[in-house]
């Protein structure tokens, strides 16, 4: 018997549209906002804002935050949280500093040890969440506290600036055409992750895991493995961020990562509604970072008080994530 064909669905739409989810005007709003910010600050501060140096500064300043936020994005995609990213970055910076400046290890070896520690941290978080079924919010706060404690212990809770080798500093501060090393690291890693998310089975499964765990399991997807993988990848990116941040600074301030955590979340959630309808994705996260970075620097240039940057980041985040709902309410 044949099934009656009651409808003729139009032949399929191109594969393109799902690269960014379903595109609509609401999802373009953050990008438009970024353009308006640039135009607005350019008009307000024509001498300083729309300059090549200034844009290079914005790119350089945002790159490491973006790297951290890309890792966070992976964890958010599988539907979890990681509140240990800042502590992981701080720890990675401290570990590298101690190994290189105090124990005299070569930079590549130190980097590999930092990566190994990242694997352990990520796997630890993943096991707490999947095997022990501790809510990620709680588990990663625990990890964060452990890591911060370890960081203070190895650094003696004091700033370290002695013994930074040129090789170490160079890894975070080499430049091409004014653009600093982290911008290139970001470019390469963000593209790799974005491709993996879209064009590999694992990437697809990460999204499925975050969308509906029970349904994913019934489709034969190894849900716990995916969650673990996301935590590991996140810890690796946070550790690279911490390593490069310290190298670029040429000094270590213990717990320097703390101030990066909220902006990383803000960027990822901005990305959630950017060029996609409520879907975490790498391009969105990177755009989110640069919206915050542009606003922050612009406000600084037009002489706004320092606290206005906090106000800006908070307001943008809330407006972005609550925007569609706010619009609906206004329409009523």
């Amino acid at each position: 018997m044949t099934i009656p064909d009651t409808t003729d669905t139009p032949p399929n739409t191109s594969a393109r549209s799902s690269w960014i989810g379903s595109f609509d005007t609401a999802s373009a709003t953050p990008v438009i906002f970024l353009v308006l910010l640039i135009v607005g600050f350019s008009i307000a501060e024509p001498a300083y804002f729309p300059t090549r140096e200034n844009f290079v500064t914005i790119l350089n300043d945002g790159a490491l935050l973006a790297l951290l936020a890309c890792g966070l994005t992976l964890v958010l995609i599988v539907g979890e949280f990681d509140l240990s990213i800042a502590a992981t970055a701080s720890w990675a910076g401290a570990l590298a500093t101690v190994l290189i400046t105090q124990l005299g290890w070569p930079v590549p070896t130190a980097f590999l040890v930092v990566l190994a520690s990242a694997l352990i941290i990520g796997a630890f978080n993943g096991v707490l969440v999947t095997v022990l079924e501790i809510p990620a919010l709680v588990a990663t706060i625990g990890t964060a506290s452990l890591l911060d404690g370890a960081t203070l212990w190895v650094t003696g809770n004091s700033v370290i600036f002695m013994g930074f080798t040129d090789a170490f500093v160079w890894t975070g501060s080499w430049r091409i055409a004014g653009l600093q090393a982290p911008v290139f690291y970001l470019l390469v890693l963000a593209i790799l992750i974005a491709i993996a998310l879209r064009y590999t089975v694992t990437g697809r499964h990460l999204y499925a895991t975050g969308g509906n765990r029970a349904a994913s399991r019934m489709a034969g997807i190894r849900v716990n493995r995916n969650v673990l993988l996301a935590f590991v990848a996140c810890a690796v990116l946070a550790s690279i961020t911490g390593f490069m941040y310290t190298a670029r600074q040429g000094s270590l301030t213990p717990l320097f990562g703390t101030s990066m955590m909220l902006p990383a979340y803000a960027a990822a959630f901005l990305g959630y509604v950017t060029l996609a309808n409520r879907r975490f994705h790498i391009l969105g996260t990177v755009i989110g970072v640069y919206i915050i970075g542009t606003g922050t620097l612009g406000l600084l240039l037009i002489g706004a008080p320092a606290y206005s940057q906090q106000l800006f980041a908070g307001a943008v985040l809330i407006a972005a994530t609550g925007g569609s709902r706010i619009r609906n309410l206004l329409r009523k």
Partner: protein, 504 residues
């Protein structure tokens, strides 16, 4: 005399006209059935009546005075009570707490809640509907049917003049439906009018005085049920004849067909020695009462529930069913009952839901070939004539029936040999139902084995070559071919009276 009058109700959502000038009345002391396919406008109408949103045009009169509903509380205040398919209860709270959720509590003098009085009140209300449970226990301990009773008692607490029952029997088994329908009959004797929304026409005939049919947002008919035939009602609902909805199609019944699956001595905590065979191309059903563990048999075979003993042989060789993943690799797939819970991933577009288990099949040199994937998934959905805006649309844009067809498309995309179907037409409208039945038969014809669990015995009657009867934790009997009828199944399931207390 009419209690509630709908006049010319219209509602548009975006570009969809959900309701177009609907008018009918519900009389005092009447059970008025409201039927129609998914998307016909029933839920929109009910939600307007609940005060969830206002109609774009039209008005409602309750007992002769205009009904203005700006907020859900207005509907309750006007004396309209609602019971939904899944009552919004909080499983961890006690029955009493759920019973009184959102209602004022009785307090003692010190301002403390008088729990003793509350429990007593709750217990008495439930007892009046024939449910005797300890109201102090957590709601989680109640069955779906008992929860429905709690919801009903809760709605009655406000002494409504009109009670709206929205698909309340959807997840209940036959005897449970009977007790519930009995209860509703008694309510009418208390003078309560009822709007009864259901997909199950048989229930409508059993219980309602009149029936209103909606189709594509319009009222098609309002008729007394004693002047209506089932065929006529189906015609009104789908807009064409579908008398063969539950008609059996007896193919060559499989004595000489090759055995595909042999289930041997499957046990878990409450099921013992479940053994049966399924031949290639055979559709086998499991009939059992609610709570008999019918779904668990499917889940055990699919690797989704633990088993304490037993084997599943595929082509005579034990299949690895330690996990869903392993079972899938053996070619055993389960279509679950609650699609939105563990069927599809709502954040992925339709095509990715179709290909979800089969990512590896679309890989070339490690990367997904999205073009091929989209083409193949689209072909699969077309085979089941899924009605959808585009293959890129959200699963949530589809009706229940079309969502189910997408799930079917998923399982034909890969090498599935044994398909386990748990309530395959749960929450599916009649039009899609026939298509899904056709699809199931076709999948069997292609040589797959099919095992169906359904609380609708007509469904088993319509589909199955054989029906296994599950009672007291094991398979007690089997019906074949022409022996399969709803009466025969029900008779055997209810025959030993020790395990079942059914009010008929």
């Amino acid at each position: 005399m009419s209690l509630l009058q709908f006049s010319n109700i219209s509602k548009t959502f975006g570009e969809t006209r959900a309701l177009k000038g609907v008018d009918f009345d519900v009389r005092e002391g009447e059970i008025h059935a409201l039927v129609g396919e998914n998307g016909a406008g029933k839920s929109t109408l009910i939600r307007i009546l609940a005060g969830d949103f206002p109609p774009d045009a039209g008005s409602m009169m309750l007992a002769g005075s205009p009904l203005r509903l700006l907020h859900p509380s207005d509907a309750l205040a006007a004396g309209i009570g609602f019971v939904h398919q899944r009552p919004p209860f909080i499983a961890d709270l006690s029955i009493t707490e759920n019973f009184l959720l959102g209602l004022p509590y009785q307090h003692r003098r010190a301002g403390l809640i008088d729990w003793k009085a509350q429990h007593r009140e709750c217990e008495a209300s439930l007892a009046s509907l024939g449910l005797s449970v300890d109201p102090r226990t957590a709601l989680a301990s109640l069955s779906a049917h008992q929860r429905q009773m709690v919801a009903l008692a809760r709605a009655l607490l406000r002494k409504p003049r009109l009670l709206v029952l929205d698909e309340i029997t959807a997840s209940l088994s036959e005897p449970e439906v009977r007790t519930l329908l009995d209860t509703i009959h008694k309510l009418r004797e208390r003078g309560v009018s009822v709007i009864y929304v259901s997909h199950r026409l048989e229930e409508v005939f059993r219980i309602a005085d009149r029936v209103t049919v909606l189709r594509d947002g319009r009222r098609i008919s309002t008729t007394r049920l004693d002047e209506m035939t089932e065929a006529g009602l189906v015609r009104d609902i789908v807009g064409s004849d579908m008398q063969d909805l539950f008609a059996r199609e007896d193919g060559p019944v499989g004595q000489n067909r090759e055995t595909l699956v042999s289930v041997q001595g499957l046990c878990d905590k409450r099921l013992a020695d479940i053994s049966f065979d399924i031949a290639k191309g055979e559709i086998v059903g499991i009939a059992g009462l609610g709570g008999s563990g019918r779904s668990r048999i499917l889940r055990m075979i699919a690797g989704a529930s633990p088993r304490t003993a037993g084997d599943v042989l595929l082509d005579g060789r034990p299949a690895a069913i330690g996990s869903v993943r392993e079972a899938l690799q053996e070619g055993i797939a389960l279509v679950t009952e609650e699609r939105s819970h563990d069927g599809f991933v709502e954040t992925l577009p339709i095509w990715q839901n179709v290909s979800l288990p089969w990512g590896n099949r679309f890989r070339t040199r490690g990367f997904l070939n999205l073009r091929v994937e989209q083409r193949k998934t689209e072909e699969a959905t077309r085979r089941f004539s899924v009605r959808m805006p585009s293959i890129n649309a959200s699963m949530l844009a589809l009706s229940g029936g079309n969502q189910q067809k997408v799930i079917f498309a998923r399982w034909v995309l890969g090498p599935v040999r044994l398909l386990l179907l748990d309530e395959p037409t749960h929450g599916v409208d009649i039009g899609s139902k026939t298509q899904i039945y056709g699809a199931i038969r076709e999948l069997a014809h292609e040589g797959r084995g099919i095992l169906v669990v359904s609380s609708e015995l007509e469904e088993l009657q319509a589909l199955c070559d054989r029906v296994l009867l599950l009672k007291d934790g094991t398979i007690t009997d089997e019906l074949r071919g022409a022996e399969i009828s709803k009466d025969a199944m029900l008779h055997r399931l209810l025959s030993s009276s020790d395990s079942t207390k059914v009010a008929v």
